[in-house]
Amino acid sequence: MTAMRFRQAIVTALADEMRADSSVMIFGEDVAVAEGPFKTSEGLLQEFGPLRVRDTPISEMAFTGAAVGAAIMGMKPVVEIMFMEFLGVALDQLVTEAAKLRYLSNGTLSVPIVVRASCGSGLGFGSQHSQTLENWVAATPGLKVVHLSDAQSAYSLMRAAIQDPDPVMVLEPRILYGERGEVDTSLKMTIGQARMIRSGGAITIVSLGQMVNVCKSAIEKSGIDVELIDLATVVPWDRAAVLNSVKKTGRLVVVEESPESGGWGSEIVATVTAELFGSLKGAPFRITTPDVPVPYSGVLETRYVPTDDDIVRQLTHAIGTGEKPKTWWQLEGIKK
């Protein structure tokens, strides 16, 4: 085990993969000379040289597309979308090209690209630089989507993503880049497998990304015997792990950094309900952000994402009554 920051875990994973496989290359805006806007490629240019580590123009469509072409021809490109929102100018290449080209080649080619993007709120970047936007890349057969939650998953899932023969989107909660954690570099994680963070019998929480830490803190504060699952992979998500847990606890809550409308958690709730309807002890539900653009003001942004206190309140209510609790904005009478 080594203590390292989340962003260092990413650098280490990139470097280890680049050492292990000479076809791995990285490019993106300011990832080479400047070593990454979030310092997630520190030392890579120096170690691997300018053929494999490249700065690009501000051209997300071009460099994502270039990754697709290079991947088909034998490279394993890792590209960086600095903020997840910027994929809005390049989504075509990932979703309509990369994810479909194996299908459209009758299985004669693969597109082993990794598209990394920082995401999430909490740092005062405003409404065009703070979303998670899993919805853009969901509903895309052929594309895998993972969302990192700590240094260990950053290291292990990044390596898994690079080793994966197909396109993988990796979401990196920006707020975690500076966080320290213990990393076991020999630990392998598999895309599509959830992480059991804490086992418990009272209720299952399924969460993701930066919300995993908030859930941990809520569990500590509440003393409730929660089973906490870090879903880790959004597509294809680990149905077995979630279903087994809810079979045991009989209760499910999904805690999300995504809006009430359109967030990924609905699929978890819907699937679990459809499969385990008869054995549920209470209404499964989601704790989400409100349906608003991410506000800038610190006072507001802090409340935009679910807080530990609010999770505690909702867990307590749900276990006590079996019913879906009200949201904080309903309680405050702001919106019904």
Partner: protein, 332 residues
């Protein structure tokens, strides 16, 4: 039956084989038109009559281990690169003998053995992908090239700009071929684009560029050779504008009634088949009789192809679930 690779080798230098391939493409497209009208081909079709010299000229200059990114108007490129008419028509008919097993359709042709990456139905999408293939060659130290073939209309989309700029700054071994067939769908290029010579847009990227006569296979080969040589020797990308004309409508049943009177006829005088025939006859390689024979043989051949494809099996339901993920090898 010949493999696509063998068919590709056929047209490398043999002028008669090149001409035959052009005739094949023409006859193929005419038949597709008829099959579509008869309801035997579904969805849409984007035919390439008038562009045979360009397609065959490109294929003749490239090596089979170079790669080409083309578009939904891709039957000609596919046949030129070597795909058999069976594998192209089979795909268009959604049959298992199609190059994509029938799940792709008319807009999605692919054969990695001759460097045809899946043709894209998204305007401009192939441009950065071709640059990316060239990037792989550059990093791998290979002398292969990537080629993007796209239309005049595609020169107005963001991916064109970004892709050319990226290729230029990285000096990638890629050739951008803008097939200026005068129309993008139903719009004449001058109604959407304020300049006439699209290749001059390469100036924005400090990239070599020129136009060529896309109706003349010799001109295509000459221009392609220049660009390919530059790319193979580390000189970076080139933008080529091939002046051609779309003899057919844009797609499906489009009659192209929006064309100014006489325009088609003007261009038909320079029909690439005619231009090539004249050259071959002049140089003594073919006689008018032989030309007739080639054409009538091709008609027969194409009827065989249609029969083969009509008789080919439909895909099983299971096949729509295949080829989404790469099978994972036993992990370490």
């Amino acid at each position: 039956m010949k493999t696509s690779l063998q068919r590709r080798q056929d047209i490398k230098t043999d002028k008669i084989a090149q001409y035959e391939r052009m005739v094949e493409i023409r006859e193929f497209e005419e038949q597709i038109n008829a099959l579509f009208a008869a309801g035997l081909v579904r969805g849409s079709t984007h035919l390439c009559q008038g562009q045979e010299a360009l397609d065959v000229g490109i294929a003749a200059v490239l090596r089979p281990d170079d790669v080409v990114l083309a578009t939904y108007r891709g039957h000609g490129v596919a046949l030129a690169l070597g795909l058999t008419p069976e594998s192209v028509l089979g795909e268009i008919m959604g049959k298992t003998n199609g190059c994509c097993g029938g799940v792709g359709g008319s807009m999605h042709m692919c054969d990695m053995s001759v460097g045809l990456l899946p043709t894209s139905a998204i305007v401009g999408a192939g441009i950065p992908i071709a640059a990316g293939a060239a990037l792989a060659f550059q990093v791998q130290g290979k002398d292969n090239v990537g080629v993007a073939v796209f239309g005049d209309g595609a020169s107005n989309i963001g991916a064109f700009h970004e892709g050319l700029n990226l290729a230029a700054i990285w000096k990638l071994p890629v050739i951008f071929i803008c097939d200026n067939n005068v129309y993008g769908e139903y719009s004449r290029i001058n109604t959407t684009t304020p300049i006439e010579d699209l290749h001059t847009r390469a100036e924005s990227y400090n990239m070599p560029h020129f136009s060529l006569d896309g109706m003349d296979i010799a001109a295509v080969e000459k221009g392609m050779t220049e660009a390919v040589n530059r790319a193979r020797s580390g000189g970076g990308p080139t933008l080529i504008e091939a002046k051609t004309y779309r003899f057919a409508g844009h797609s499906r049943a489009d009659q192209a009634l929006y064309r100014p009177a006489g325009e088609l006829e003007q261009w038909q005088k320079r029909d690439p088949l005619k231009v090539t025939e004249e050259g071959l006859v002049a140089s003594g390689l073919l006689t008018p009789e032989k030309i007739e024979k080639i054409k009538s043989d091709m008609k027969v051949r194409m009827q065989e192809v249609i029969e083969t494809c009509s008789a080919a099996p439909e895909p099983t339901l299971a096949s729509m679930f295949e080829n989404i993920w790469t099978p994972v090898k036993a992990s370490k």
